[in-house]
C-alpha cells in the first residue's frame, strides 16, 4: 500500500523549452484521474526535478494505479515509501518492502541489487556508500538472497532527494510517448475489428487526443454491433480525459452506392464516402487528422493504389499507424491493450451481402472520377442526411454513455 509515487515522464525530456506545455497536459490527465479514483487530498510537486505524487492520508488504490498506467506521456512510476532524511530509517523500510517479494511463491534463489542515487549533497553518505552498506545489511538479514548486479529479480532503489529518501522495489509501466492532446486532435474511424482500436492506441502514444466515429450499416447489420464498438470506445477512453463517440447511420448511403456502382468498386466506394463524411465531421469537431486501422495487403482492398485514391478524397492527413505491422503483431497489441476479447466477438460491422467476391485492387481513375461526379447528386444529400442523424455520445471512465451536443 503506497502513498507516494515517483513519476517518470517519457519524452518530456526531449522537449527542452516546451517542457511546460507538455507537462501541463500530463498533469491535467493525472489530476482528472485523482478526481475520479482518489478520495483524499494529494499533492503533485517536484523534489529536485523529480515529480512526486503523494497522498495525504490514504494509500493509492489498485484502481487508481491501474488508471495511471493508461496515461500517455507517462513512462512509468515507482511505488515509493517516503522516508525522512535519516540513514537509519532506510533498513527497516527495506525489510518491510522485501517481505511481500519473499512470501510470494517465487523460485529461490532470489537475487537483488541496491541502486542508490544521492542528489542531495547534504546527505552524509554518497550513492556508492549507501548501496554498499544497505546491500551488506540485506545479506545479513535475508540469508536466502543473493546479489546479482546484472539481472537481479529485485532492484532496491534508493533516491536521496532534498525533501526525503524515496525507497522503492516496484514500478508500473504506463503508456509512454507524449501526453494526450499535446500533439493535437484527430478523428478515429472505428470498426469492430482488431485493427482500428490498435491504430487508435498507437496514436494515443504520440499525444493525439481522439474523437471516435463508427459507421453503422443498419439494416445490413444489426444493432448489437453498436454495443460492441461502444465497448471498444470504453476501453480506449481511459487514455484521455474526455471522449466523444459518434455513431453515423450509414445504411442508406451504402444502399445507394451499391445500386449505382460496379460491384467490384463497392467496398472502396464505401471507404471513400466514409472518409468524406468523416472529413465533414472532423471539420465540425475541429480535428486535424483522421486515423484508420489500414494495413497493406491484409485484405484484398488494402492496396497502395486504393490508398492513393482515398487519400485524394480528403484534405485531412489520414494517419495509418498499422501500415508497418503484421497481423500477428496487431493481435498481440490488441491483447495488450484489452481490445482483443471485444473485437473477437462475432457481431460483424460489415454485411457479406454487400461484399463483392472480387473487390477492385487498382481502380480506374476515369471510372472513379466519373462515379464521383455522377453520383454526387444522389449521394451528397444522403450524406448530409446521415450527418444530421448522427448520434453524438460522451463516454466516461465509469463506462457511462451520455448523449451530448458538441
Amino acid at each position: 500500500m503506497y502513498k507516494t509515487l515517483l513519476l517518470n515522464a517519457d519524452e518530456l525530456c526531449l522537449k527542452g523549452r516546451n517542457q511546460k506545455f507538455f507537462w501541463q497536459k500530463l498533469i491535467g490527465h493525472i489530476r482528472a484521474i485523482m478526481k475520479v479514483y482518489h478520495q483524499d487530498e494529494y499533492s503533485l510537486h517536484q523534489d529536485d526535478l523529480r515529480y512526486v505524487l503523494s497522498s495525504a492520508n490514504i494509500p493509492f488504490s489498485d484502481e487508481c494505479l491501474q488508471a495511471l498506467t493508461k496515461v500517455p506521456g507517462l513512462h512509468s512510476f515507482h511505488l515509493v515509501k517516503k522516508l525522512p532524511l535519516d540513514f537509519l530509517a532506510i533498513m527497516p523500510a527495506v525489510q518491510e518492502e522485501l517481505a511481500p517479494h519473499l512470501s510470494s511463491e517465487k523460485p529461490v534463489p532470489l537475487t537483488f541489487k541496491v541502486a542508490s542515487k544521492r542528489s542531495n549533497k547534504k546527505f552524509p553518505l554518497n550513492s556508492y556508500q549507501i548501496s554498499r552498506e544497505i546491500g551488506h545489511q540485506v545479506l545479513e538479514a535475508f540469508p536466502s538472497l543473493k546479489v546479482d548486479v546484472h539481472h537481479p529479480s529485485i532492484t532496491i532503489k534508493i533516491k536521496v532527494l532534498s525533501k526525503g529518501i524515496y525507497l522503492s522495489t516496484r514500478s508500473l509501466a504506463a503508456v509512454g510517448g507524449l501526453p494526450a492532446g499535446s500533439s493535437g486532435h484527430a478523428l478515429t474511424l472505428l470498426s469492430g475489428g482488431f485493427d482500428s482500436p490498435v491504430a487508435s492506441y498507437q496514436m494515443f502514444k504520440r499525444g493525439l487526443r481522439q474523437s471516435f466515429v463508427f459507421f453503422h450499416s443498419y439494416p445490413f447489420v444489426g444493432e448489437e454491433v453498436v454495443e460492441k464498438v461502444t465497448n471498444l470506445v470504453k476501453v480506449l477512453s481511459h487514455l484521455q480525459v474526455r471522449t466523444l463517440f459518434l455513431v453515423v447511420p450509414f445504411g442508406e448511403v451504402q444502399s445507394a452506392i451499391a445500386k449505382e456502382c460496379k460491384p467490384a468498386y463497392r467496398t472502396l466506394l464505401f471507404r471513400r464516402y466514409m472518409i468524406e463524411t468523416a472529413s465533414l465531421l472532423a471539420k465540425n469537431l475541429e480535428a486535424d487528422a483522421l486515423i484508420t486501422g489500414d494495413s497493406i495487403g491484409q485484405v484484398a482492398s488494402q492496396t497502395i493504389f486504393n490508398m492513393n485514391v482515398i487519400n485524394r478524397c480528403t484534405e485531412f492527413p489520414i494517419l495509418r499507424p498499422l501500415l508497418g505491422l503484421n497481423k500477428s503483431e496487431i493481435i498481440l497489441l490488441a491483447k495488450k491493450i484489452g481490445t482483443h476479447d471485444i473485437s473477437i466477438l462475432p457481431q460483424d460491422d460489415a454485411c457479406s451481402l454487400l461484399a463483392d467476391k472480387n473487390p477492385v485492387i487498382k481502380p480506374h481513375q476515369k471510372y472513379w472520377d466519373s462515379f464521383g461526379k455522377h453520383a454526387s447528386e444522389i449521394i451528397g444529400p444522403l450524406i448530409q442526411d446521415c450527418i444530421s442523424k448522427t448520434k453524438t455520445l460522451r463516454v466516461d471512465w465509469q463506462g457511462q454513455v451520455h448523449p451530448t451536443i458538441i
Partner: protein, 414 residues
C-alpha cells in the same frame, strides 16, 4: 404495425386485459389466507380450475389441474419428477421440440452420466421425417423393445411444433403407443396448440399435459399442468400448501381470472368458431404462399408443400399428422433472414427469424437439424405466424413489402 409473430407471443385479448386490471385492483388478498377475503378469492379460483378441467372434458376423478408460472415451468416440473419419482431411466424426446423440453432432459442426462447405470437417464431421439411427422416405424420399434425390459420409460410429445407448425393427433398416437407399452408415461406439451387445435382428455390416455396462456391471448406469467390424479408429479417448488401441495408460491388470482376470461370466450365457440377460423387462416396461408412464390421463385416452405400438406384437408385434424395454418416456416436461400427481419421492422412489420448472421458463427441450429433442414440454410429461416386477429389485408401488405425488400436486396447479391 403488422404483427406476425404470434407463435412467440400474442397481444392480450381485450377481455383478458379488462379482467386483469379489475382483478389486480380488487383481488389483492392472499388466496391462502384464513380470513374471508382469502377464502372468497380461493373459491373463485377453484371455479376457474373447474373451467379449465371442463374445457378438455377431463373427468374429475381422472385428472387434476394446477396453475404454474409458465409452460416452461410445467415441463421442467414433469421432467424432474419423471426422473426422481417415476424413476424413469429411458426417455423419448424430439430435438425439434421446444427448449423447455430438450434442455431439462439434456441436463438430467448430463448430470447423471457418470452415475451408476441404475441412476442414469438415457435419451432416445424421436426421429422425424422430412415432412416433420414422426418416423413411427423407428419409434414404435423402440417403444416395444423397451417394454420387454422393466425399465420405466417416458415419452414427451409436442402437440404442435412451434417451428414447423406440424400437429400431432395426440389421441391417435397415444392409443397406438399404449398398445405397444401400457405403462409408458406420456407427457404432452400443448403450449402452441391448445385453444387452436381440439384436444380432449375424456379418454385418459395421457399422463400429463402442459398448456400456456400467452400463446392464446392470455397474460404472460401463467401456465398450467394437467396430470393423472392417481400419479401426481413431484413438486418443483416447495414451501407452501398452494395448488394442493404441488406448487408452492402465492397464487396469482388476477392472472388466473384473466386467462379464464379468454378461455370462456373460446369454449363458447370452440367447435364452430375454431373450424371457421382454421379454414379462414388456411386460405390466407395458402394465398400467401402462392403470392410469394410468384415473385420470389426461390422461396421454400419446407413443411407446407410436401405430401403431408397435400393429404390433409384444412381444419381436419383427424389424420395422425397435419400441418396447421397458424405457423409458416419460409426459407429464402440467397438472403440471410436477419437482414429481412431488420428491413421489415423499419416498416413496422414483425416476423421471426433464425439468430443473427455472422461470418464467425457457424450457425448450426440443433432444432433445425432435427427438423431435417440443411445446415447451410439455417441462417435463412423465417417464421411467420398468425392468430385469430390476423386479417387478409395485413398479410397482403406484408407479402407486398416482403417482395419489395427481396427485390431490393437481390440487386446487391452478385
Amino acid at each position: 404495425m403488422i404483427y406476425l409473430d404470434h407463435a412467440a407471443s400474442s397481444p392480450l385479448h381485450p377481455k383478458a386485459l379488462q379482467e386483469l386490471t379489475r382483478s389486480f385492483a380488487n383481488d389483492f388478498a392472499n388466496p391462502s389466507a384464513t380470513h374471508q377475503l382469502g377464502r372468497e378469492l380461493n373459491k373463485r379460483i377453484e371455479k376457474s380450475r373447474e373451467l379449465f378441467l371442463s374445457s378438455v372434458q377431463a373427468g374429475s376423478k381422472d385428472y387434476s389441474f394446477i396453475f404454474t408460472s409458465s409452460a416452461t415451468e410445467a415441463n421442467n416440473m414433469i421432467i424432474s419428477s419423471l426422473f426422481k419419482k417415476n424413476k424413469v431411466r429411458k426417455i423419448f424426446i424430439s430435438f425439434a421440440d421446444h427448449p423447455s423440453i430438450v434442455a431439462p432432459v439434456l441436463n438430467i442426462a448430463d448430470s447423471t452420466s457418470t452415475a451408476s447405470n441404475d441412476n442414469q437417464i438415457k435419451i432416445n431421439e424421436i426421429k422425424l421425417n422430412q415432412q416433420g411427422s414422426i418416423d413411427e416405424d423407428l419409434l414404435f420399434r423402440e417403444v416395444e423393445a423397451g417394454r420387454a425390459n422393466t425399465i420405466p420409460m417416458a415419452i414427451i410429445l409436442s402437440q404442435v411444433n412451434n417451428t414447423s407448425g406440424v400437429c400431432i393427433n395426440v389421441e391417435d398416437i397415444c392409443k397406438r403407443l399404449r398398445e405397444k407399452n401400457p405403462s409408458l408415461y406420456i407427457h404432452v406439451d400443448a403450449a402452441q396448440g391448445w385453444g387452436k387445435v381440439p384436444l380432449s382428455l375424456k379418454n385418459p390416455l395421457i399422463n400429463s399435459l402442459t398448456i400456456s396462456a400467452h400463446k392464446m391471448g392470455g397474460p404472460k406469467g401463467i401456465g398450467g399442468l394437467f396430470f393423472r390424479t392417481s400419479s401426481p408429479p413431484y413438486p418443483l417448488l416447495l414451501g407452501g400448501d398452494q395448488e394442493f401441495g404441488y406448487r408452492a408460491s402465492t397464487i396469482c388470482a388476477p392472472l388466473i381470472f384473466s386467462w379464464g376470461a379468454v378461455l370462456k370466450e373460446q369454449i363458447a365457440n370452440f367447435d364452430s368458431f375454431k373450424r371457421e377460423e382454421i379454414q379462414r387462416l388456411t386460405i390466407i396461408n395458402t394465398n400467401l404462399r402462392t403470392f410469394l412464390k410468384r415473385d420470389i421463385p426461390e422461396i421454400i416452405f419446407p413443411f407446407h408443400e410436401k405430401e403431408l400438406a397435400a393429404q390433409n384437408p384444412a381444419g381436419s385434424y383427424t389424420s395422425s399428422y397435419t400441418v396447421g395454418p397458424y405457423i409458416l416456416l419460409a426459407i429464402i436461400p440467397s438472403i440471410a433472414s436477419d437482414i429481412i427481419v431488420r428491413y421489415l421492422e423499419r416498416k413496422e412489420i414483425y416476423i421471426s427469424s433464425s439468430a443473427a448472421c455472422s461470418s464467425r458463427i457457424k450457425g448450426e441450429n440443433p432444432t433445425f437439424t432435427a427438423l431435417k433442414l440443411p445446415p447451410k440454410l439455417h441462417k435463412n429461416v423465417l417464421r411467420i405466424s398468425f392468430a385469430s386477429s390476423t386479417t387478409e389485408e395485413e398479410v397482403q401488405t406484408f407479402a407486398n413489402k416482403l417482395i419489395g425488400i427481396y427485390k431490393e436486396l437481390k440487386q446487391f447479391s452478385a
